[in-house]
Amino acid sequence: MAANPAQALTARLSADVLERRPSPLWWLTLVLAGVLAAIFALALGAIFGWGPGWMGMNIPVAWAFPIVNTIWWIGIAHAGTFISGVLLLTRQHWRISVSRIAEAMGLFAIVLAGLFPIVHLGRPWFAYWLLPYPNTMGLWPQWRSPLVWDFFSIALYLIFTLVFLYVSLLPDLAILRDRARRRWQRYGYGLLALGWRNSARQWQRYQQTMLLLSALAAPIVVAATGVISLDLSVSIVPGYHFTIFPPYFVVGALYSGFSMVVLIAIVLRTARRLDALITRGHIDRLGRLMLLFSLAVSYAYLCEIFNGWYAGEAYYWRVYADRWAGPYAPMYWGMITCNVLLPQLLWLRGVRRSLPLMFLLALGAQLGMWLERYVIVITSTHRDYLPSAWDTVWPTATDWALLFGSLGVFIFLLALFVRLMPSLSIHEMREATGPANGPEPAGAHPQHTAGSTRA
């Protein structure tokens, strides 16, 4: 058993889940994140109990931080989908070291992204009125409203991400089931494995399904972010009303998604000593992607400014002047620094291969992307048409509680996930580590070898 590297890998990875006692660091992470998650719950309770007035919003700026957070989390979610889907299709070998965690991250991010629009509502208990269901009021949603499209795109994205993650987990769940010693683990993983028996037929179906889902991933990524951007660009608000928004949002989401993958990969590599699996070469490649999308985002910024100028509308031009020198100028220049200027360091190979620098740049990108959404969502309506209606909003304690609380929920769920599920794809790692024709773990059908159907 030990002689076979694939076997050894399987043993090690499944033992990580089944046997290893959680480290103090894990406990610390879980508790800290749990505290933040509790704060999140408190903030939600206040908002649901008393009203959305707890958040910093008012009449010119009736969309504020929940919308910023939604778009931000969607951007993070895209990384997972993109890595697991698009990179699978393009057969990027290195992706398997990060794909599982990226997919889980994507799922949790999309859950949070879907939660924030409900937090945003004045009467969240009627959120289901966006569903076209037969009702006594005889009313359907208004199909002209981008919010309805939004609802469907986020819901679709959530379902897709969940299915993708679950399907990709199935063989690993079976491995865990078979190697589990404790009763609850056997039953739990057994139920979740849905009777996976490693049969060739199952593998064939599995490969087909994964291929199909991967092919769907790219359009769904583009659709989800693109449709969310339509919420803004369909309106007549200067600063929202740009046809460039869908691609602009997609590249922005990818930029933030890849930087999130860098963060997670570095954390995981350090915390779980996966140096051999997640190499500096991988980080380097991610750095190149970050640079690419940073350039794309910069192009979008320029394009937007050009449009504002070229349209010849005073209102549009004023939005930019206000972003550069108005009350929100620090956010704008912070965004430019994080998303345009700092990523230029990624041209240097040394920077791309330095874990601390990459970590900081990725953090900066996350901050920058949050600021980008802040700038777009808030500065556009705070001074739109009639100066008499102008006003500013600033985040309240509740807004911060929601933002950091949602981060806490995210990390809490991720921490639970890495404990309960293999954070590296066992079956894919086995393929990657060699001929992968060693005997299957007990209970598997001996005639099947993983990866044999992929040639």
């Binding site: 009203g51 010119p60 004045g122 009639l386």
Partner: protein
């Protein structure tokens, strides 16, 4: 148990238990023995239980008897005697009361001594809305914010609810007994030791009752304290005419008006009528031959300055100088032109010359209006100029006031300190809060043996009073009012007094010996003497019409009023106030003015008024020291920074507010804030400006100013921003308009489209509701804002929410500036929902909560709204309002009491969007009424709340599909324009561009050439002033 140790007679216990009948339970031997020691022990150890033990036994039957009796008696208290007083509904008397249908009663309301005619709308016996009474000559159907907000004061839960003797509730009968018992002393001493202090009321019956008392008891003292208008009525012109005389202006005849800080559109008595007359004449000029022109010189920005063709800020000293120079040029015989200018004039010599030439040209059609807060010199000079121009008797007439000149609060304090007052009746005044700082009112009142206070609240004065009597609200009591022009109107109650209030007439009735004074009887007795026969029919007519006596005094051209000696008057005024001296260089001149929302502090507990954005500052819930932006820049002060004003031993720390157009070196602070006992809402709001007031100079003071560290974030609903893109407010000069009427204000893009016309089409079948707002006529007075709030149950959100930009007013009045910071022109623009035909709010709502009606209304379906707020994001006018919290929850201290709500309009819950509905409830009511009568709706059937409140008829609402309707006629005018027309929203609410009539010579001399309000491309300076 200690008693057990002492032992007792166990045999006696056995015997007693043997004798006992029925079930008698016992718990321990001592208890059963009924031992005295047990009793002692019980008292020592459980003193509370001892009493219970000794209480007489209560059995089941007794309990049932008591319960039955309580129930029976509980019902008894609900029975009261309905007053046997006939009140008459206005004009259309329904055959029987129709539930759900409003009834209107003609009545009148008094604010600061001035009566205006109102119609009170009641629903099932409770007043829900105040409208103007068109039959009343003093106000002609107009109302102001105070009249509109009177409704909320009626239902104010903080109103005093019982007669109190030294703070302890007692009853009216006890109070009446005491006052009646004092009557022999009153009569014996000819009134010696008795005194009455009235506020600013000028109710004819009250004044007459006091007069009658004084006639009977000559030693009775009568004082008057008017905190808002400290000058006694007519006193400024007393030296000219020999007796006090009040000016009355006739703006319908005035062609050229020069205001010397005379805010005739905002605060002068009669401002409602003046505004109507002035703007009616001004609007006619668009095609008529005699254009009016208004020059305003003002010490602090006012509504009149905002509407003026030329508005020139002038410090008080400069204003006196200007008045003197004008008089020198125009009325040389009164005030000979000084060799050198009497001081720094607020305008260059060439402009002055242009002004004089303009005045000469206008001659008798000119009118100089001095401010009531100005020193006597300015008032005398202004009227001397009127006399010299021949305007006296034409554009201004003079009338003796209806009340004698009375000693003021200072005299009261002096007399009280001298021990000359034993009994003082304070009728509707609050001297403890409103006294100048140099008067020790509280100690002086403390020396009075019997202090009777009649007031609506347990205010600062009530706290000192021996007797406090709750005052009935004008909407629930009989009374009468006198308008500025002498029109007398009756006040009829529309509901029984909610908290058992009494009126001044009734308290005075007690002093006159009436054992059971009833305001109804006293009022009728008063008017029976004066109306003559047939009294009953005249009385009923007065109740029905709301007017009892037409204006008094001369009305025609011929009557100039009595001859006046202006020279002597000026000499007297000069000797009174000494030479005109400019204040020391480092000092500022502080003006103390009544507040545009809470006046002298009496409305401090009215949340509608507290939250009303003040017309020029747009501040709510606080007063602030208004300072010229240039002065603030020198001192490096930002809005809300604290300064301390010092004058003599008086000092006050207050936040500042930079106000464009405020003259340099002049500060303005409004009165009425800083209440110490102003109710739940009014207490502690703002700073108490009375602490800087002195008896000698109540309106103006020289103060030192220095910075403090503190900062108060002030709740303003609009910041100082410049416009960009299409100008929201458009103005045209009259000269331009005459030349090229077609282009005037219209610079609108073509609305040609490939898409079908939005439904409903103009001119199609059915009604097409629309509104037109005339910016020439809008004076920014805010009456429409409060009217809308009262009509549509708009919640109050409080200072913190306003600061966060969450005020709920459906109708806001935008204020824009044009020109230099030091002397800008101001423009007002009321912005309700535009009811766009291509409404951008509609297609973005995911749940179809906002939709278009077939009559062109953009309707909001509250029940369907889930609060995505997309509609507001996409509304270019930002007229939608969102319920961020449950503002209408009854437990909220600011929530409007439920009885004040309009039953036709739903009260919105939290989390839903709301906005102007064009008063859809009124449309439907009119439609139903017309349908019942079997006729079509005609123009004028539907009047929105803002429209009917507007004193200048700036707002017109009606059916666009009817080409003859007023709104359709207005929209055909070349001045008509749509706000942000370039967005192709096709708003149904449009504006008529403001027409200004500047004097080109004056303009040139001021060094300003006005650019017509055209497209102003480019980038504004963000954030700044």
């Amino acid at each position: 148990m200690s008693a057990a140790a002492e032992g007792f007679d166990i045999d006696a216990l056995r015997q007693r238990l043997a004798r006992a009948e029925g079930p008698a339970y016992w718990r321990c031997l001592e208890e059963a023995a009924g031992d005295a020691r047990f009793q002692r022990w019980l008292e020592r150890e459980r003193p509370r239980l001892a009493g219970l033990w000794q209480a007489p036994a209560i059995d089941r039957r007794a309990v049932l008897k008591l319960m039955a009796a309580s129930l029976a008696l509980a019902g008894v208290t609900a029975c009261g005697q309905a007053p046997q007083e006939a009140i008459v509904p206005y004009v259309q008397m329904p055959e029987s009361l129709l539930p759900g249908m409003p009834r209107h009663y003609a009545s009148s309301l008094e604010h600061a001594g001035e009566g205006i005619g109102v119609l009170v709308e009641t629903r099932e016996g409770r007043p829900v809305k105040v409208e103007g009474n068109p039959a009343h000559p003093g106000s002609r159907g107009a109302t102001d914010t105070y009249a509109q907000a009177a409704l909320l004061s009626l239902y104010d839960p903080d109103r005093s609810r019982s007669v109190r003797r030294r703070g302890t509730p007692t009853s009216w009968a006890v109070f009446a007994g005491e006052l009646l018992a004092a009557r022999p002393a009153l009569q014996a001493g000819q009134g010696e030791g008795f005194a009455i202090l009235t506020g600013d009321t000028r109710s004819p019956s009250v004044l007459a009752s006091i007069e009658a008392l004084r006639n009977a008891q000559p030693q009775l003292r009568w004082y008057r304290h008017d905190a808002g208008r400290p000058q006694a009525p007519g006193a400024a012109l007393a030296d000219a005419f020999g007796t006090p005389h009040e000016p009355r202006y006739h703006f319908e005849r005035a062609e050229l008006i020069v205001s010397l800080d005379g805010d005739f559109l905002g605060t002068l008595p009669g401002h409602l009528r003046y505004g109507r007359d002035y703007l009616q004449r001004r609007r006619e000029q668009a095609d008529g031959p005699a254009p009016t022109r208004l020059y305003a010189f003002e010490c602090t920005p006012t509504l009149t300055g905002a509407k003026a063709d030329h508005c020139v800020p002038a410090a008080p000293a400069a204003l006196i100088g200007l008045a003197r120079a004008l008089a020198g040029a125009l009325a040389g015989e009164v005030a000979p032109a000084p060799a050198a200018p009497p001081g720094p004039l607020p305008l260059p010599p060439a402009a002055f010359a242009a002004l004089v030439a303009d005045l000469r040209r206008a001659g008798p059609a000119a009118l100089v209006v001095p401010g009531e807060q100005q020193p006597a010199q300015v008032q005398v000079l202004a009227h001397a100029i009127n006399a010299a121009l021949g305007a006296a008797g034409r554009t201004v007439s003079y009338h003796p006031p209806d009340l004698p000149t009375l000693p003021d609060l200072a005299a009261l304090v002096a007399d009280a300190e001298a021990g000359m007052i034993d009994t003082l009746l304070i009728l509707g005044a609050n001297p403890v809060h409103q006294a100048p700082a140099d008067l020790p009112v509280a100690p002086a009142l403390g020396r009075i043996r019997r202090l009777v206070h009649l007031g609506p609240h347990l205010d600062e004065t009530a706290a000192l009073a021996t007797w406090h009597v709750p005052e009935a609200h004008p909407l629930e009591a009989w009374g009468d009012t006198r308008a500025f022009d002498g029109t007398i109107a009756l006040q009829q109650p529309t509901i029984a007094p909610l908290f058992g209030g009494r009126t001044a007439l009734e308290v005075l009735g007690l002093l006159a010996g009436e054992a059971d004074p009833q305001a109804y009887r006293l009022l009728r007795a008063h008017w029976r003497e004066r109306l003559g026969e047939p009294f009953e029919s005249r009385w009923f007519e007065a109740l029905r019409e709301g007017v009892l006596a037409a204006p008094d005094g001369p009305a025609g051209d011929a009557e100039a009023g009595p001859d006046a000696d202006w020279r002597a008057a000026l000499a007297a005024a000069d000797s009174d106030s000494g030479p005109d001296s400019a204040p020391a260089a480092a000092a500022y001149t502080l003006l103390l003015r009544p507040d545009p929302a809470i006046w002298d502090g009496r409305y401090a507990n009215n949340a509608w008024l507290q939250e009303l954005p003040r017309p020029l500052t747009k501040l709510t819930w606080h007063n602030a020291v208004m300072i010229a932006p240039a002065d603030a820049e020198v001192l490096d002060l930002a809005d809300g920074d604290h300064v301390t004003l010092t004058a003599g031993e008086h000092a006050l720390t207050a936040p500042i507010w930079r106000l464009p157009g405020q003259p340099a070196g002049v500060l303005t602070l409004t009165l009425g804030y800083g209440r110490r006992a102003g109710g739940q809402i009014g207490t502690g709001v703002g700073v108490d400006a009375y602490r800087l007031r002195t008896t000698a100079s109540p309106a103006m003071r020289t103060v030192g100013l220095h910075r403090e560290a503190g900062h108060t974030p002030l709740a303003s609903t609009q910041q100082h921003h410049r416009m960009a893109g299409e100008p929201a407010v458009r103005e045209v000069d009259l000269a331009e308009l005459a030349g090229q009427a077609q282009q005037a204000a219209r610079a609108e893009p073509s609305s040609a489209s490939l898409y079908p016309e939005p439904s409903p089409r103009e001119g199609g079948t059915g009604h097409a509701w629309a509104m037109s707002i005339d910016l020439t006529a809008c004076i920014g007075c805010n009456a429409c804002v409060i009217a809308c709030q009262a009509e549509n149950n708009i919640p109050v959100v409080g200072e913190r929410e306003v600061r966060r930009g969450r005020e709920m007013h459906w109708l806001r009045v935008d204020r824009y500036y044009r020109g230099p910071l030091a002397a800008p022109a101001t423009a007002f623009q009321p912005v309700p929902c535009m009811h766009c035909e291509n409404a951008h709010c509609e297609y973005v709502c995911p749940v179809e909560a906002t939709q278009h009606s077939h009559e062109g209304l953009n309707e909001m379906i509250y029940n369907r709204c889930i609060g995505t707020r997309y509609c507001s994001q996409n509304c270019p006018y930002k007229v939608r309002r969102f319920n961020w919290f449950d503002y209408t929850e009854p437990a909220q201290p600011l929530a409007t009491p439920a009885p004040a709500h309009n039953p036709d309009v739903s009260v919105r819950v939290r989390g839903v969007m709301e906005k102007c509905t064009y008063c859809v409830q009124r449309i439907n009511r009119a439609r139903i009424a017309a349908g019942r009568d079997g006729r079509a709706l005609v123009d004028g059937d539907v009047r929105t709340a803002c429209q009917s409140a507007c004193p200048t008829e700036a707002i017109v609402f009606g059916d666009l599909a009817d080409p003859a309707s007023a709104v359709a006629v207005r929209k055909r005018q070349p001045l008509d324009y749509a706000l942000l027309a370039g967005l192709n929203a096709r708003p149904r609410t449009t504006y008529l561009a403001a027409v200004r009539n500047p004097n080109p010579q004056f303009e040139r001399a001021l060094g300003r050439t006005r650019k017509p309000a055209v497209r102003e491309p480019g980038v504004p300076r963000p954030g700044g002033l």
